[in-house]
Amino acid sequence: MTELFLTFALLSLFAVGGISTIMPEMHRIVVVANAWVSAPEFTQLVAVSQAAPGPNVLIVSLIGWKVAGLAGALVALAGICVPSAAAAWWAGAIWDRFRDAPWRALVQRALLPVTSGLVLAGGYLVATPEGIGWRNALIAGASAAALYATRLNPLWILAAGGAAGAALFG
């Protein structure tokens, strides 16, 4: 249990940009080095964590669950989250203290294009799991347009995506 916590706590600090950054290293530790789950199991857990609503980081609680049940799930999630949450606490404190500093306004202006580009890249990667094709482009393009231009509840957009998936990928 301690090992589970420490493993994910260490990974936590390298997860800049979220869980996808550390996925290869996590696979190495969980499947190859410790054999906590098998390779096919790992792939299945990744799929489940991506299909479930919520942060993809929850893959670690599925791994913890396989290792040690509900307690394992909670411990693994705490491990991956506590160090990064502490970093966010500390960075947020500095960020808010310098609210009116000229350097902050400068950094803020500089970061906006970087942020926009990275969110766009995240969407592109999720929308093209097996390369770009007309089906993916159609579903992702229509969903993006609907979210941007209308106030439609995104649940409807996702439901339409599911229906389109059944029609186009089936």
């Binding site: 800049v16 299945q44 479930a52 669950w65 766009l120 890249a121 995240g122 609907a146 059944a166």
Partner: protein, 189 residues
């Protein structure tokens, strides 16, 4: 629910109590199908109006440079800003509580349903639409830079480096931030 123009003009009001904060983040985790970020933007900026679009983009930018899930970091930073340590904890737990239950429940269900021929294409379609929601959110975030060519070039370069060429964020982030800060100093972005 009001129209888009009103969202832009009315000034944001932070949550008044810890309970309100907790429920707000709970409502994000409750329905975060297809990714958390589009729902966080919708709940915090459009529905509850705790933040202006600019403030949201600013907090998100900070959180992208920190390790860990971006929106969990947003919950910690905003909770701290509004209510200190209890706020950070309430925001974080509110965000994670329901997704934690969803993912364990889905793992239990998945074993029985994965083989069903309809499940795979529907899940694939929802996944692609979820990617589309991120693209739509990126467009919303980019509204303020729409008429600044250098800023758009920086955004496009970040997109290409991470999305198309699959270069590690650990490499892309420092380079992109350094270039963007240089451009901002020369008032180009």
């Amino acid at each position: 629910m009001s129209d888009l123009t009103e969202t832009k003009v009315s000034s944001p009001v932070p949550p008044r109590s810890l309970t309100e904060l907790f429920i707000g983040f709970l409502s994000i985790g409750a329905r975060a199908f297809g990714g958390v970020l589009p729902w966080a933007h919708r709940a915090l900026v459009e529905e509850r109006r705790w933040l202006s679009p600019q403030e949201f983009a600013e907090v998100l930018a900070l959180c992208q440079f920190l390790p860990g899930p971006n929106v969990a970091n947003v919950a910690v930073v905003l909770g701290r800003r509004w209510f200190g340590l209890p706020g950070a904890i309430a925001g974080f737990l509110g965000l994670m509580a329901l997704p934690f239950a969803w993912v364990l429940g889905l793992a239990l269900l998945y074993a029985d349903w994965a083989a069903h021929p309809v499940v795979r294409p529907v899940v694939a379609g929802v996944g692609v639409a979820g990617g589309g929601l991120f693209i739509g959110t990126a467009l919303k975030l980019a509204r303020p830079i729409a008429k600044r060519p250098v800023a758009l070039a920086v955004a496009a370069a970040c997109f290409a480096a991470v999305g198309v060429f699959r270069i590690s964020l650990l490499l892309v982030l420092p380079v992109a931030v350094a270039l963007a800060v240089l451009a901002a100093r020369k008032r180009l972005v």
